[in-house]
């Protein structure tokens, strides 16, 4: 069995990648759903047909130049822990992690492309980029798709476009999304009106791991919902516009908080630091929520000499599967909480207490 952890970038490397606006936009992705013309969709196909589709799709995907150096494996060859690890890296969906025989995945070494085979559709291919790069991600996946269509014949209808298992993905089969860190809007209690207005524009706001998940650590995913009746470029551009506005609102919220409620902000950041740097047992959920404030503190320059990537790395390696991967024994949740706290204390040893900034005198700004 190939070792997925050895293949993937180290958490430190993967969180050191930068992109535009990455203090708010953690990453951008564009996913395309495609199906082979003459086969039943994965949810309806019997096992032999799914295996056949996998055998057709896997070599085709691996032959793409973008996937020259890639990790390609059938899902039944991965352990539950490895699958969970991939979910924590946002490389596969939770739905795909539950798949076994007849499903597979191909991930390139730089983790900029991930192709799920026989998830809800025969192919779910996505391009991932750090920061606000939705357009670049679209261009990258468009190119991969164009090359792949020469090897596989996709189900396409002149009226309905690309045919997908679920009618909600019909047409372009595109999902453009960005992962946003919005502690300012949450603290300023502006997040709900923002979510509502984003929803009104036909866009979805979801939690950290997509559909039906909580917004742990003040991380939200914004994505398009409608896929039919508009071109990919129009969809990408609309999302870009909305994202630019959310970024602006988040920056304004942070500014307003510093002016109007500096004590509230500094209290959150100071307490987050206090707990993270001193706890002896801490859950994954609490860790994420506190790391969010630590990240905000770094953004507000309260931790000179500390890079945001340290926080992002901790955000990743303190999650259950990443933590379990670092020790050989199988841990219980309680044991994980102890090890997580040890790790946080160790890594935050070199980070000094947050600076105490005096609120700006009235009349400035």
């Amino acid at each position: 069995m190939k070792d997925i952890l050895a293949f993937l970038c180290s958490p430190s490397d993967s969180t050191h990648r930068h992109g535009p606006h990455d203090r708010i936009v953690m990453s951008s992705r564009v996913r395309l759903a495609r199906n082979l013309r003459d086969h039943a969709f994965p949810g309806w196909a019997k096992k032999p047909e799914r295996v056949k589709v996998l055998d057709l799709a896997m070599p085709a995907v691996c032959s793409m130049p973008e996937m020259a150096d890639s990790f390609a494996e059938a899902m039944d060859n991965l352990t539950a822990l490895d699958k969970q690890l991939l979910v924590e890296r946002h490389l596969i969906s939770r739905e795909h992690a539950a798949k076994n025989v007849g499903s597979g995945l191909v991930i390139n070494r730089t983790e900029t492309f991930s192709v799920m085979i026989n998830e809800e559709d025969h192919l779910r291919m996505q391009a991932l980029r750090p920061g606000f790069q939705t357009r670049e991600a679209w261009q990258a996946i468009d190119k991969l798709d164009s090359a792949l269509e020469k090897k596989l014949s996709f189900a396409f209808d002149n009226e309905l476009g690309y045919l997908t298992a679920c009618p909600t993905n019909l047409g372009t089969g595109i999902r453009v999304s960005a992962m946003l860190h919005l502690p300012g809007l949450v603290l300023n209690e502006q997040i709900n009106p923002i979510i509502q207005s984003v929803n009104k524009l036909g866009l979805a706001v979801r939690g950290l791991y997509g559909e039906g998940t909580e917004a742990l650590g003040n991380v939200f995913q914004v994505s398009n919902q409608m896929t039919l009746g508009e071109s990919e470029t129009v969809i990408v551009e609309r999302l870009e516009k909305v994202l630019a506005q959310i970024i602006e609102h988040e920056e304004n919220s942070r500014q307003t908080l510093l002016e109007k409620k500096p004590k509230v902000v500094f209290n959150h950041i100071g307490r987050a630091y206090g707990v993270l740097a001193n706890a002896h047992s801490i859950s994954s959920k609490e860790t994420m929520n506190l790391l969010s404030f630590l990240r905000l503190g770094v953004d507000m320059e309260l931790f000179p000499g500390t890079d945001r990537s340290l926080v992002d790395e901790l955000f990743l390696i303190t999650q259950p599967a990443h933590l379990q991967k670092q020790v050989s024994d199988k841990l219980t949740a309680e044991e994980r909480d102890l090890i997580r706290a040890d790790m946080l204390r160790e890594r935050l040893k070199t980070v000094n207490r947050p600076l105490v900034k005096n609120p700006p005198p009235p009349g400035t700004n």
Binding site: H39, W44, E159, L170, M226, E230, S231
Partner: protein
């Protein structure tokens, strides 16, 4: 006003959802609203509800022995109700009628605009062009502008029209 699900009791729950520039309305009686889980109007998707509506019509047709099945994969409308997903690409043709309303409620439009596989792109453009020409031709004939009509007919012929225009 009657409930649009059971078509028996008076509707007391009225829902309006605006997506983009489209407005959808549903009128439900209290029992049906509860059954559909519409207690909190913010937490449900109209599309889900519409899905259920199509399904109730489908139940009637099963009773009448008319249940529609996809000839290619054997998927039925009842299966769609269960999973919300279709069986195979061909299902879109099989269930086209029932899907039309659903697609309208969930998307911006009902016709794909955007990328097409390169092999089909050309024929797709041709089909579009032929459609426009056919329209012009009809108009020219109506206006008794036979000279223009003849030119249009020639152009349609050149594009291999007539046959290609019908098979979408």
């Amino acid at each position: 006003m009657q409930c649009c699900v059971c078509k028996e009791k008076p509707a007391t729950v009225h829902l309006t959802q605006i997506v983009g520039d489209k407005m959808q309305k549903l009128d439900l009686c209290e029992d049906c609203a509860k059954a559909k889980g519409v207690n909190d109007p913010t937490s449900f998707a109209m599309a889900d509800l519409m899905l259920g509506l199509g399904a109730s019509q489908e139940i009637e047709s099963v009773a009448a022995g008319l249940e529609l099945k996809c000839p290619r994969c054997g998927f039925s409308q009842a299966d769609f109700k269960k999973s919300g997903r279709l069986g195979c690409p061909e299902c879109y043709r099989t269930f086209a009628e029932g899907l039309a309303g659903l697609l309208k409620s969930m998307h911006k439009g009902t016709r794909h605009v955007g990328k097409a596989p390169e092999a089909l792109r050309q024929s797709r453009d041709t089909v579009d062009r032929l459609k426009t020409l056919q329209k012009k031709l009809t108009k020219a004939v109506e206006e008794e502008n036979y000279e223009a009509a003849a030119a249009l007919r020639d152009e349609i012929k050149l594009l291999g029209g007539g046959t290609a225009a019908k098979s979408r």
